[in-house]
């Protein structure tokens, strides 16, 4: 289960997806919408994705996690569109025979996802809205684009 959805994320579906009689450990990460950020009171979040590429990147990251740790199964679901406070925007589940591997794979997957998957978060607060990560250079000048080092294998 590796996908984007516009519906509320059903955690049970992820846990079922990684269930495996050979796996003694399941680690689940859920990212939820906080009611504050940078001292602002957040009203809601909205996520926009580049759908085809986002799903490809999620698959690639899941493959990488599976290659690095002896995990049984992995599931990743990211919600797009408006996500109310307290709701899950992203959920990742990994199962393995031993807990160290499940923890490592889940942690790796959410870190990579936040870094690489083309999904953007717009924060709506009292008095405005901002795209998270969209900071301009200090002097407003153009910065060289950050390009990707090393193409995937």
């Amino acid at each position: 289960m590796l996908r984007l959805t516009r519906e509320p994320i059903r955690i049970d579906d992820l846990l079922s997806a990684v269930g495996d009689p050979a796996a003694g450990a399941v680690v689940l990460f859920v990212g939820t919408t906080r009611d504050h950020n940078d001292g602002r009171r957040v009203e809601r979040l909205e996520y926009e994705a580049y759908p085809g590429m986002a799903e490809k990147e999620i698959e690639r990251i899941a493959e990488e996690a599976t290659a690095r740790w002896p995990i049984a199964r992995i599931a990743v679901v990211h919600r797009t569109g408006v996500v109310p406070i307290g709701d899950a925007s992203v959920a990742i589940a990994a199962s393995s025979a031993h807990r160290a591997d499940a923890f490592a794979a889940a942690r790796f997957t959410i870190d990579r996802l936040k870094e690489l998957v083309p999904i953007w978060k717009k924060e709506f607060f009292d008095g405005g809205a901002v795209w998270i990560g969209d900071q301009t250079g200090r002097d407003g000048s153009w910065q060289e684009p950050a390009v990707v080092k090393g193409s995937p294998s």
């Binding site: 926009e48 580049y50 990488e64 690489l116 990560g133 153009w142 390009v147 990707v148 080092k149 193409s151």
Partner: protein, 90 residues
């Protein structure tokens, strides 16, 4: 060559464009295209870092474009940790 360009999130809102189509010369790289775009779309100049993807895959700036390529301008993703870097360990 005809190139399709996609803009997302802050770039989409600032430029008012979700998708563009441009004709470019043979030998144009991804970085060349981005330079052309920032010349023509002043809204792009005030943006922070932008990464590039060709056909749904992150690319190097020197990547040569081909007719029909889909180029995406990718502002920082939702992690908000600054620039994108693929640091594959393999």
């Amino acid at each position: 060559m005809t190139i399709r360009i996609l803009l997302f999130a802050s770039l989409r809102e600032r430029t008012g464009e979700r998708a563009l189509t441009r004709e470019v010369a043979e030998g144009t790289t991804a970085a060349d295209l981005l330079a052309e775009l920032r010349r023509d779309l002043p809204a792009l100049r005030a943006s922070g870092r932008i990464s590039l993807a060709v056909n749904e895959e992150y690319c190097e700036p020197e990547r040569l474009l081909r007719d029909g390529d889909e180029v995406a301008l990718i502002p920082p993703v939702s992690g908000g940790r600054g620039c994108l870097q693929r640091e594959r360990s393999e």
